[in-house]
């Protein structure tokens, strides 16, 4: 087509006016939606739960520090409980006494 402009620089005033009209009409209104959550839900459903099946993977910003602190606190709590149980449930002392042994001499032939 001969009337087709060859370069971007040849776009005229008419095009500029039209472009500003189009931009005005196409300007977005309102907040963009949370696409990530919907995407994760669709992938989870279509993969039969293979992907995005837990809170760690579906979180927008996984609270890594919280998880780390929680893990350490749990380990400390387990250690305290184990040491308390070892005090309370102390095993009964068993004295090692030699059992009486009767050595029977073999019968003479």
């Amino acid at each position: 087509m001969s009337e087709v402009p060859d370069t971007e620089a040849t776009e005229g005033e008419d095009d500029d006016r039209l472009r500003s009209l189009v931009r005005g009409a196409m300007k977005e209104e309102g907040e963009p939606p949370d696409v990530l959550a919907g995407f994760q839900k669709k992938v989870r459903e279509r993969s039969g739960g293979k992907f995005y099946a837990d809170g760690w993977s579906t979180s927008r910003n996984p609270p890594e520090f919280t998880y780390l602190v929680t893990g350490i606190l749990m380990l400390i709590a387990l250690g305290v409980i184990a040491s308390m149980l070892s005090l309370v449930l102390r095993p009964e002392r068993v004295e090692n006494k030699a059992a009486p042994v009767n050595v029977v001499a073999p019968a003479p032939k």
Partner: protein
């Protein structure tokens, strides 16, 4: 969250995400990122979606014109990326590839919706057209000064939106990508997969179609 620029890399949490352009990016980082995506690393996909969700949503919204439809379509774009990432050969930029998926999905959806609702639209479209024109003619515009100018501006926007919706998706695509999304001709060719000359002629025809449609609805020339 800042949008990924068209012409450069995006940094997030120490990782380099690809921009939309062919220029000015770290290929090694992009390659690493694509490998993570190809192995369906969920966190890599989270990063990808967060980086591109706004751009993709806005593009889709401008193509389909309905917010509820656009939200679902934007999610679908990333689901398609998730499914097809194994076939991505790196011949174009990842961002361009995502744009292409979005555009193709939109075109298919528009064609499907137009086939499905063609009978409904035949009845509704003249009504919408009549209402818009009646509103203009009813004297609401011009009786008082500033508020009515705003009303007129709003009506013109509505008319442009309706005229855009009436344009064939192949033409709407180049119009949105060039005049709204501000893509360069090179990027347009990448996204549409069309040669340079075809893109320019299609854009020229799209503008002419839109201009004619808007002028017909307004009853005056666009100045």
């Amino acid at each position: 969250m800042p949008l990924p620029p068209l012409g450069g890399p995006v940094y997030r949490g120490g990782d380099l995400l690809p921009g939309w352009d062919l220029l000015d990016h770290d290929e090694k980082s992009e390659q690493r990122f694509i490998e993570r995506l190809a192995s369906h690393d969920e966190r890599a996909f989270n990063e990808l979606v967060q980086a591109y969700e706004q751009r993709v949503f806005r593009l889709v919204l401008r193509m389909v014109g309905r917010r509820d439809e656009a939200e679902d379509m934007a999610q679908e774009v990333f689901v398609q990326v998730f499914k097809a990432i194994g076939t991505f050969r790196g011949e174009s930029k990842l961002g361009t590839w995502i744009y292409r998926i979005a555009i193709n999905l939109c075109k298919n959806r528009i064609k499907y919706l137009s086939r499905r609702h063609s009978s409904d639209e035949d009845e509704l479209e003249p009504l919408a057209e009549r209402t818009a024109l009646d509103e203009r003619k009813s004297g609401a515009v011009g009786e008082t000064s500033r508020p009515d100018q705003a009303v007129e501006g709003y009506q013109i926007e509505k008319i442009v939106q309706e005229c855009m919706a009436g344009i064939d998706p192949d033409f709407r695509e180049v119009l949105v990508l060039r005049d709204v999304e501000d893509l360069s001709y090179d990027e347009l060719c990448e996204v549409t997969g069309l040669p340079d000359g075809t893109v320019k002629s299609r854009l020229h025809r799209a503008r002419a179609m839109l201009k004619a449609a808007v002028e017909q609805r307004l009853g005056e020339k666009i100045r």
